[in-house]
């Protein structure tokens, strides 16, 4: 889901830098006032965790690969704004140091994985979990937070890919950037995340949220806000 350099036209990646910058600025404000010093180690661990989970490429046999992002578990445990900040930092490090995701696409990739994903995940969790703090409903909420959050991020990414042939073409109608239209990009990316990668994200989210609720329930952001 890391869009490389060249796949997005400037008329796509520039506005997305603007949108991402707005969320970064708001996240800095929110996280600064909401998190005391004792949360800094958890933010650091969340960033390290998101970096690492993204290294576990999961194969679709004979096809492509994908991976979880960790955006849902960070959003539920530390809050969506903390997730905006930590996942964005991870994505910037990945682009600059490891060439995973383009430099020009940092705004787009942060919007998709560090804004869309955590807010959708957090909303789904709150909606499904209600007041549950354990049990089946609670686990289902955590699973769905990961499953739907990651798939939503994939669909938004696919839309950015898919509109390129319409908005970026040369005089002969040849695509200048990402070549596949919406009718290919959206179904492919939605399907692979619905059928495999989203399920992995869902399980990871459910397992970890469950672990933290058992061992450090005071930490869980989604409960403090209820």
């Amino acid at each position: 889901m890391h869009i490389p350099d060249g796949y997005l036209s400037p008329q796509t990646y520039l506005p997305l830098f603007g949108v991402a910058a707005f969320f970064w600025a708001t996240a800095v404000k929110r996280v600064r006032s909401a998190l005391s010093h004792r949360y800094v180690p958890y933010l650091a661990m969340a960033a390290a965790f998101s970096f690492l989970i993204q290294m576990f490429n999961i194969p679709i046999p004979g096809g492509t690969t994908g991976h979880a992002v960790g955006g849902a578990v960070v959003a539920v445990l530390l809050g969506p704004w903390a997730a905006v900040l930590t996942i964005s930092i991870v994505l910037i490090i990945q682009a600059v140091v490891f060439g995973d995701g383009g430099i020009t696409a940092i705004g787009a990739n942060c919007f998709n994985m560090a804004v869309v994903m955590p807010f959708i995940s957090y909303g789904v969790f709150r909606l499904v979990a209600g007041n549950a703090r354990g049990g089946k409903r609670f686990l289902a909420a955590a699973f769905l937070a990961g499953y739907i959050g990651l798939t939503a991020a994939a669909v938004v990414t696919a839309i950015q890919f898919g509109i390129q042939p319409m908005i970026a073409q040369d005089a002969h109608g040849q695509p200048l950037c990402a070549p596949y239209p919406l009718t290919v990009a959206v179904p492919v990316m939605a399907a692979e995340h619905l059928l495999l990668f989203g399920i992995v994200e869902g399980f990871v989210t459910a397992m970890l949220v469950n672990y933290f609720v058992k061992h450090e329930p005071g930490l869980v952001y989604a409960f403090r806000e209820v």
């Binding site: 661990m45 290294m55 194969p59 690969t65 490090i93 995973d100």
Partner: protein
Amino acid sequence: MAPFQKKLWAGLIVMALLSPLGVVLPKLFNAEDAWGEWSSEKLKELIGFVPAGLEKLADLWKAPIPDYNPGGDGASLGAQVGWYIFSGLLGIILAAGAIYLLGRIFRRHEK
């Protein structure tokens, strides 16, 4: 450091040590790049040409450790596993370090 936090850090280090699964499993199942993240060469194979705008930007940035695996697919499996573990550990240091640094900056501004 609280024992609970120590345990979590240890878990993260174990994840870094296991991260080569991310390169071994795709090889085992004959799976290639993520959808939409192809190199220019691969794109040429797929659609017959490299879109002009894409070609211009594709090599804009030379990352120091491309794809956590600077030797690429051609390197020995041992080298690829080694680079993955190194990248995982470096990732922990960079990601956590960036947060601690930000935390310091915020605190200074509060005083």
